[in-house]
Symmetry: C2
């Protein structure tokens, strides 16, 4: 089994170096990326949505040109283990999800996915081996159309920049008269953070 | 100038291959990661917050063990060009930001950062050259403490998993009686998506 342009073993090495560990979810994610690609017209430009921030986005970042920082990958957290590749102009896409109804023959995957056992009682290597053996058989796909807010419009205009009168830093002017952090929406403890 | 473990040229190659283009913001981001690291106790485990989803997260993902998928990198969007490295147990950290008050001598960076000119009138290479020449002189740092919700607690318990009675997919049980997508919070057009 190849994962994208890599052999399975090369992909595992990539995962280890980028993600820090060989998480079973990324192995699944690699196969899900394969399935999505196989269902898309060749050569088409696509954006990706991951429906969870756990593991799955790293498979996408390793295997496609889409990253969080270039904005071609977005996370819309529904907590479902699913990803969608879609045409960034029309919004038409293919959604791939790990299908809980197809796990009957895969006890290790099932225990991991549905958290049937505490993590300490799960054997990581066994889960990964099952993912490899199960191949594409445990996923389902469906055609979807994404909401207009995720579609790239040629009319999109980026907001102008202001200096926040409170912290002095540059921020998007359309967000308000001070920056979000100075209105208490920042991640820090303390005044205006 | 080195960026992390790379020479400047190696870093530029990495950016091109991961992010798809040599965006000036990632070059700045690389220097910001250098500054954050230099201000942290050596060998300390840290998490990272980026205050924007544009470019900056990709510099962090290329240069640190922190990725979106392993959850050591989080985006808290205040739209400010800033990142924070913090101790994941105490919340104490160092925040690094591109300082609009220090750009007097750098017209290309200024035009890019404050959007003083339309993108088509900006010279990408000139901006990148200015970032290289400016080195660390155009950033500021401050000590911060992040809010408790970003701190790793040893008591953290992951929610159990349910099968959504509407779509049949696995989701985090604590999110409600059906999954968020089936309550209209998904990214797709159509019933229960």
């Amino acid at each position: 089994m190849n994962i994208g342009a890599f052999t399975y073993e090369e992909f595992i090495d990539k995962v280890k170096s980028f993600h820090g560990s060989i998480a079973p979810g990324i192995v699944a994610g690699g196969i899900m990326v394969n399935i999505a690609r196989a269902n898309l017209p060749q050569g088409e430009f696509f954006d990706v949505i991951c429906e969870t921030g756990h593991c799955l986005p790293d498979a996408v970042q390793l295997l496609t040109p889409c990253t969080i920082g270039n904005r071609w990958l977005k996370i819309v957290d529904t907590s479902r283990y699913a990803l969608t590749f879609f045409n960034k102009y029309t919004g038409d896409g293919i959604r791939v999800f790990l299908d809980a109804r197809k796990l009957k023959d895969w006890p290790a995957i099932r225990a991991w996915f549905l958290k049937e056992k505490p993590k300490r009682d799960q054997d990581q290597q066994e889960i990964i081996d099952e993912f490899r053996m199960a191949g594409t058989s445990i996923y389902s796909t469906e055609k979807v159309r994404v909401k207009p807010s995720y579609i790239t419009s040629s009319k999109q205009k980026r907001s102008s920049i202001s200096l926040c009168p409170s912290c002095g830093e540059a921020y998007r002017a359309d967000l308000g008269e001070t920056c979000p952090a100075c209105r208490g929406k920042g991640p820090y403890i303390g005044k205006g953070k």
